[in-house]
């Protein structure tokens, strides 16, 4: 389990990094925190010819959070996002996701953007992005593209990012003062990738649900929102009965896969349970800073 050979590049500026990616195309990979890429390489399941270590790029480690929304740049580690009180206030779903991402030592190195770019279907951050309609900002020598979450996650470990692009930041829209959200999941062991999980939010005005998102991870090749279930929530009061109806819709519409850890039926069942648990928890968080 040792890394294969590669040409190592540590660009000092974003433009150098982009030029390298442009030059090497498919044969290059961005190395951010390395918490997903390095094990894949050590197992020799991935062998990029060129590794572009973006760790030394300046000006890509910022978190900007405010009432207008939250921006997390490429080199923001999970640990920094977890500690950020600004994120807790203005993008509470991101904060809620962080403790579920591996273990503390993984979060010291892993980046929020790396998680999103890697797009593991069982990872929390892609589902959070989908739940809140985040925007991914991709830069290349050709310029900057903004990609909305619904277009970003294309399949298993596959995103809309082109080989010559770097995900330089992710933008989360403003968080409504009347919204509550949470991330809930079931994993085999503490800290494992989820068997199935849910990033969810509810916006309640005048006692009725005005807006809702149910974004599942571990339920297919990409994070999945279940619109049919979200619809059942709109216009109804946030109570157990409402949540049970949503849970029922979830189990009817979700078709998760099976593996050695859990069956399809189990995951489907859990999706219902987590819908009820998640929505109740989200409701309790309305108006309470995370």
């Amino acid at each position: 389990m040792k890394n294969p050979q590669f040409n190592y590049h540590r660009p000092g500026s974003l433009s150098e990094a982009l030029a390298l990616l442009d030059e090497h195309g498919d044969e290059a990979k961005v190395l951010a925190g390395g918490q997903s890429l390095l094990p894949v390489m050590a197992l020799r399941l991935g062998r990029p010819e060129h590794l572009v270590d973006i760790g030394a790029l300046a000006g890509l480690s910022n978190i900007t959070a405010g009432p207008q929304g939250t921006t997390i740049q490429a080199l923001v580690r999970h640990a920094a996002a977890e500690r950020s009180t600004d994120i807790a206030t203005h993008a509470p779903l991101v904060s809620a996701a962080m403790p579920h991402v591996g273990h503390r030592a993984i979060r010291t190195r892993g980046t929020v953007c790396g998680s999103i770019a890697h797009a593991d279907p069982a990872a929390e951050m892609p589902a959070v992005c989908l739940a809140v309609d985040a925007t991914m900002v991709a830069e290349s020598v050709a310029g900057t593209r903004e990609i909305v979450a619904t277009d970003f996650f294309e399949g298993y470990l596959t995103t809309a990012l082109r080989p010559n692009e770097i995900l330089t930041e992710v933008r989360f829209p403003a968080w409504s003062a009347t919204a509550g959200g949470t991330v809930v999941e079931i994993s085999r062991r503490h800290g494992d990738y989820a068997l199935l999980g849910l990033a969810c939010l509810l916006d309640v005005t005048e006692g009725l649900i005005a807006n809702a998102a149910l974004s599942f991870f571990g339920a297919g090749g990409t994070p999945i929102r279940v619109a049919e279930a979200e619809q059942t929530l709109i216009g109804r009061p946030p109570n157990d009965e409402t949540f049970a109806a949503a849970a029922k819709a979830v189990t009817e519409h979700l078709e998760p896969g099976s593996d050695i850890h859990a069956s399809t039926n189990y995951r489907r069942h859990i999706a219902g349970v987590l819908t009820r648990r998640g929505l109740a928890e989200a409701t309790s968080k309305i108006g309470v800073p995370a």
């Binding site: 389990m1 890394n3 190592y8 640990a79 993984i106 010291t108 190195r109």
Partner: protein
């Protein structure tokens, strides 16, 4: 801009346990391998090399990190602490003393990782609850002990170090 073609080596400078170290390495080498082989500090162990067991945990600028999941090249300019860096003047660090007191380990292959994680935990949270201890240590696997003695080791460390920092 640093560029190292296949077959060539890279100079990496970092601080290890307070001393500045420079190594000339194949850039694909993991930080763990460089610590163990080039730098010769074999107290950091490799149990899985894919980020799960935690035996290779070190402190990277004071934060716990998996040395198996970093290229040594990524540690350029950082300060790392390994298990060998804990004792001062031949005297065990309070966490080491506590683990000895609590008879925490058996084969102790996992112990460097647990102790580094413990130091990181107590740095942030000098008086953790049992649940918090277990949660933090859940990133480290031990096959011998069933963990209870290690949890007691952390609790003992809290007693030795005091509940505030």
């Amino acid at each position: 801009m640093t560029a190292v073609p296949i077959g060539e080596t890279l100079d990496v400078s970092l601080t290890v346990n307070g001393a500045t170290v420079s190594v000339d390495i194949d850039p694909r080498r993991s930080l763990a391998d460089v610590i163990r082989e080039e730098i010769g500090l074999t107290g950091t162990h490799l149990g899985c090399e894919h980020g799960v067991c935690g035996a290779c945990t070190i402190l990277l600028d004071g934060e716990p990190a998996r040395s198996c999941l970093m290229l040594a090249a990524q540690a350029e300019g950082t300060a790392i602490t390994t298990i060998e860096g804990l004792a001062t003047n031949g005297e065990m660090h309070p966490v080491q003393q506590a683990m000895h007191e609590a008879m925490s380990f058996q084969c102790a292959f996992c112990s460097p990782g647990f102790m580094m994680s413990t130091i990181a935990l107590l740095d942030d949270n000098p008086n953790p609850s049992e649940k918090e201890i277990r949660e933090e240590l859940s990133g480290n696997l031990c096959r011998c002990t069933g963990y209870e003695s290690i949890v007691e080791g952390v609790e003992t460390a809290v007693k030795i170090m005091g509940p505030t920092r």
